[in-house]
């Protein structure tokens, strides 16, 4: 069966950001053009376009409410916030869509340390697998953030997740601040111990 995939771009369903990719199970594309095609050619029926529009509307509502809760919540390590509960609910209802909405919100606010730190604190409270892979890519993106507080939050995510599969990536990271490097080294050591423990059992 031919499968047509379109890329839902982070910000909007505009013709400039929707892109046709070749069918997965066939050979390379044979058309001469390699430029981006408009959305109109992707949606063969109005019903399909409406489905996408509905998803967009739910995303907008989720994003607005989540942002509001981020600004209203007091984040303290070890304590759950209404923002955590809201994300938990969204994950239960919308599954992978909710993770991607958080990812989009994250990208849109990358230059805002307050929002980015808050998102990292929320996602740190979930299991690694529950937030995977967007949780991991968001935390990885913050390893080079200009704000030290954000960089600390991202290390805390990896510490909280305790996922040995992130070890290879963490080993490739280094920070300019000594204390943060020390913190990262401790997290790596803990994960290594965890890995050795699992292997030895």
């Amino acid at each position: 069966m031919d499968e047509t995939f379109a890329i839902l771009a982070p910000t909007a369903l505009s013709s400039e950001t929707i892109q046709k990719t070749p069918p997965e199970k066939t050979d390379l594309p044979t058309a001469s053009t390699t430029a981006i095609e408009p959305l109109a050619s992707e949606t063969s029926t109005l019903a399909e376009a409406c489905k996408l529009a509905q998803v967009g509307e739910i995303r907008r509502q989720f994003t607005n409410r989540f942002l509001q809760l981020i600004h209203e919540s007091e984040f303290e390590y070890g304590f759950s916030t209404p923002a955590d509960e809201y994300v938990r609910e969204a994950l239960n209802t919308y599954g992978p869509f909710a993770r991607e909405w958080i990812n989009v919100l994250f990208l849109e606010n990358f230059s805002d340390p307050f929002v980015i730190s808050a998102i990292l604190r929320v996602i740190a409270h979930f299991d690694y697998q529950q937030m995977s892979p967007q949780g991991m890519t968001m935390a990885a993106a913050c390893t080079s953030h200009v704000d030290t507080g954000v960089r600390e939050c991202c290390v805390r995510c990896f510490e909280s997740w305790g996922a040995p599969e992130t070890l290879s990536m963490l080993r490739s990271i280094s920070f300019s601040k000594d204390w943060l490097n020390e913190y990262l080294t401790n997290v790596i050591s803990d994960l290594e111990r965890l890995t050795n423990h699992v292997v030895s059992r």
Binding site: P29, S32, I36, L52, N103, T137
Partner: protein, 244 residues
């Protein structure tokens, strides 16, 4: 001649470019793109049909959205967009950056390319309505209806094959030129600006029937220089035609 460039794009087609967003892969790429300041992210690919299915695509992007490197199923696609206020730079600058980025990428993920592509699109400076109609007349030979009722929106696309040398290889390129009259809005610092202009786009790529894995790092720069040269030569001819 182009006043507002919309984007530059370079595509490296190869099997297995759909890299998964996994920590070991991201770690390698973070290291490779450290100097570029790219951050990892994902984009949702939607299957449009009776039941919406999703899967994730790994991308590396600059925090302001200007650069994006997407690991699509059959190509790694680098795109530079004109983000308001940053200035998009010259085609030569893009080629140099793309060359560097793919040098780094192919060091850590040595794909062998089956096809290469370069695309760009931009808008000419504003023209008055009479001039816009004049451009259409210079390019197209209309049937009587459109002679009497000049179109206010139109597209033209020309695709030709052209042989070039890329190092030791002779390659056939598709040279595609789009000249269109389009209306829309451009994002500007001062707010969206409506326009009615001539849009010129190039899509220069290696011929689709040749799918032999043959392109390596060395070919990226050679191809991009050739593609930019061809697009600039055609641009000179377009200018002559429109001004002639």
């Amino acid at each position: 001649m182009i006043e507002h460039l919309i984007y530059y794009q370079f595509g490296f087609f190869a099997p297995n470019t759909h890299l998964q967003p996994k920590p070991d892969i991201i770690g390698r790429l973070l290291e490779a793109f450290k100097d570029k300041g790219f951050i990892p992210t994902t984009a949702q690919e939607l299957q449009i049909g009776p039941a919406i299915k999703t899967r994730l695509q790994l991308q590396f992007t600059s925090p302001n959205g200007e650069w994006n490197l997407a690991f699509e199923p059959h190509r790694a696609l680098l795109k530079k967009e004109n983000v308001a206020g940053t200035g998009i730079g010259s085609p030569e600058d893009f080629c140099n950056e793309a060359n560097e980025i793919f040098n780094q990428l192919l060091k850590v993920n040595p794909f062998t390319g089956t096809r290469l592509s370069y695309a760009t699109k931009g808008l000419l400076p504003e023209l008055n309505p009479a001039k816009l109609d004049e451009v259409n007349k210079r390019l197209l030979n209309h049937i009587s209806f459109y002679e009497e009722h000049p179109p206010y929106q139109w597209t033209t696309r020309n695709v030709a094959k052209f042989d070039v040398s890329l190092g030791e290889m002779t390659e056939t390129l598709n040279v595609i030129t789009d000249i269109n009259r389009v209306q829309g809005t451009i994002a500007r610092d001062t707010g969206p600006l409506s326009f009615d202009r001539i849009e010129i786009g190039f899509d220069i790529n290696t011929y689709q029937e040749n799918t032999i894995p043959r392109f390596t790092t060395n070919h990226v720069g050679l191809f991009l220089r050739e593609a930019v040269k061809q697009s600039q030569n055609i641009m000179v001819e377009i200018k002559g035609k429109l001004n002639g």
